[in-house]
């Protein structure tokens, strides 16, 4: 890429139905586009706003207060061990917001970049992936609230916090997997434009964001973990809250397996549909 003058002798062959072996090489070659598309979205989002990035803090902060008041103070649901309820809520709100933002952004990403898709070539996988990256930046920003909360409650995490990157990785994989599915489906069936906001709204209550997943009755536990975000949220709580917070290992493994399946099948389906995007979009 840095030496365009050198004629690459390798011949690129374009044929019908041929999965180019080049694809992953191309993704590497266009790696800067991940950054540029994400950079564009972040830059554009806060243009002509008065308080800019602060919005990324205000929204999760207010949600956290509402959830803590409703579930913690009014419904008096138990926390996990000694952890203050706001921290319990926020430890779940972080991955959930990341997931829901990433899902809605990436499922719409191909449509909103239709002009690019129909006029330039690049591996299309970059588009939904970079909207997940944008949501990840928001995630990092709102993680500062968590630090603030910990300082406020004098809450010291245990060594388990070191495993947090692992769970962030799982959250990333889950977001990307589901995002790829919906992005590809949305190109052909615009119905998903309406389905995704519903899933996001619904999921907030179905997933254990405002309460601890230990409240779920024993016999329904395994079924509950079919929602991959349950595993991710439990992982986050386990890592952040430490102490008495327990991980339901069977369920967690099930969630993990589902995430892996979603990611692999998402990439497969996306790659399969990708070659018709420009004609259909």
């Amino acid at each position: 890429m840095n030496s365009p003058k050198i004629v690459s002798k390798q011949e690129l062959v374009i044929e019908a139905g041929r999965t180019e072996q080049q694809y992953w090489k191309d993704i590497w070659r266009y790696r800067e586009l991940f950054y540029f598309l994400a950079w564009r979205d972040i830059l554009v989002r806060y243009k002509q706003t008065a308080i800019g990035m602060l919005w990324a803090l205000i929204r999760p902060f207010l949600t956290m207060i509402v959830f803590s008041v409703i579930f913690g103070s009014l419904a008096k649901l138990p926390s996990e061990g000694a952890a203050p309820y706001p921290i319990l809520v926020f430890a779940a709100l972080l991955p959930w917001q990341f997931f829901s933002n990433a899902l809605s952004e990436s499922s719409n990403s191909l449509i909103s970049n239709a002009n690019l898709i129909s006029k330039v070539y690049f591996p299309r996988l970059i588009v939904p992936a970079s909207s997940v990256i944008v949501s990840f930046v928001d995630f990092l920003v709102s993680a500062m609230i968590l630090l603030g909360l910990m300082a406020w409650y004098n809450f010291v995490p245990t060594w388990r916090i070191l495993s947090l990157p692992l769970f962030i990785g799982i959250a990333f994989a889950a977001s990307l997997g589901v995002g790829l599915w919906f992005a590809a489906l949305n190109v052909e069936y615009r119905d998903f434009r309406y389905i995704v906001p519903f899933i996001v709204q619904f999921g907030l209550y179905v997933s254990p964001v405002g309460f601890s997943s230990s409240l779920i009755p024993e016999q329904w536990r395994l079924l509950y973990y079919l929602n991959p975000m349950v595993g991710v949220i439990d992982g986050f709580r386990w890592a952040i809250l430490g102490g008495e917070s327990k991980l339901y290992w069977i369920g967690f493994t099930l969630s993990l397996g589902l995430v892996a399946l979603l990611l692999v099948s998402g990439i497969w389906y996306f790659r399969k549909m990708e070659r018709t995007f420009a004609d259909v979009i």
Binding site: M1, N2, P4, K5, V7, S8, K9, Q10, E11, L12, V13, I14, E15, A16, G17, Y30, E32, L33, F36, W39, R40, L43, V44, K47, Q48, N115, L116, I117, S118, K119, V120, Y121, F122, E188, Y189, R190, D191, R275, T276, A278, D279, V280
Partner: protein, 425 residues
Amino acid sequence: MSENMISVENLSKKYIIAHQQEQGSRYKALRDVIADGAKSFAKSFIKPGGKKMPNPTREEFWALKNVSFEIQQGEAIGVIGRNGAGKSTLLKVLSRITEPTTGRIGIKGRVASLLEVGTGFHPELTGRENIYLNGSVLGMSRAEIKKKFDEIVAFAEVEKFLDTPVKRYSSGMYVRLAFSVAAHLEPEILIVDEVLAVGDSAFQKKCLGKMGDVATKEGRTVLFVSHSMQAINQLTKRCILLSKGNIQFDGHTGKAVQLYLTGQKDESASPAYYQAPVNKTGNHVAWVRAHTSEEEGIHCWGKPITFEFALHIEKPHDSLSFSFQIVSALQQPINIFWFFSDAPFRHKQGTHIFRCEIPKLRLYMGSYTLTTWLSERRSETLLENLSDICEFEVSMHNLERVNYPWQADECTYLEDAIWQTVEKH
């Protein structure tokens, strides 16, 4: 050195066109898919073994059909054809935006395609930000863009507005910046759709110059679609003429342009003659005839030609004037002739016939048309302006050049000349 950069074999691209009854349902909705699926499922139960009926609402459309060609390194190739001939589809397939249905393409080298000016520009971002964004979308690395940044800005002439969001740019500035980014790509193969028709004429000239440099000086391979025959002529030596998804002609640009232009002509028009529509009123040109030296509107180089005009005058005016131009196939006016002196048509109603004889027509071979101007000089009003009328063809067949046949577009004008050898002592 003459290595095949692009080789295309039997390339075809099929689209399915849906003829839907309902208006406005552009997208495939999940509901329809489920409903259709259920229907055909039910049908297969009711009529087992029944042959699949061809769906009347879906029609196959071959945008490209068995297209094959090869392009060598450093060649600049024009692609021309009427709307819907498959030009844009060809470029889209070559630049990997869409997949071919059948056939094979082999490409050696990095391809950059410019199918639209300003792809990926975001209106909210500033000029500076958009240069980086657009550059990376087109396949430049950040380091490359940084290196070229000043050059891009200077070429676009937008230094002052670099930190203004492009939504506040004038459309000319926007397009200049967009083209400038694209022009500084350095791929081995550059694919350009009709994008040069941008900006004012000075900038267009600059763009054409830049494109020419890319092909000739830098030795890159350029594939170039345009409807401007002048640009095609200027930039390319070889041309592919597409017609309904097939290659109609592949070869010398002059010949291809000629074929394209003659293909465009209305077949029914009789040669070298124009007749005004019957319902026309007011002062106008009733008919025009070019008296060519041969039949069928063909004229031999160097022979006298007479143009005959009939003016239909309803309101005589003492400053009525008439002039006409001979225009080449590339829409370039070559000659102008005017008739501004006193004549009966200034004073009397009716149809007035007058002639213009050119004793020796020196125009080079090719096809030419007339443009006429009828105006009132005192009030400076243009009464009628006809163009592309009375087409005639100049042929060189009476003039032999030994051992060296006449080529199209060698020149536009052939002057008498006297050669002498001067001996030096």
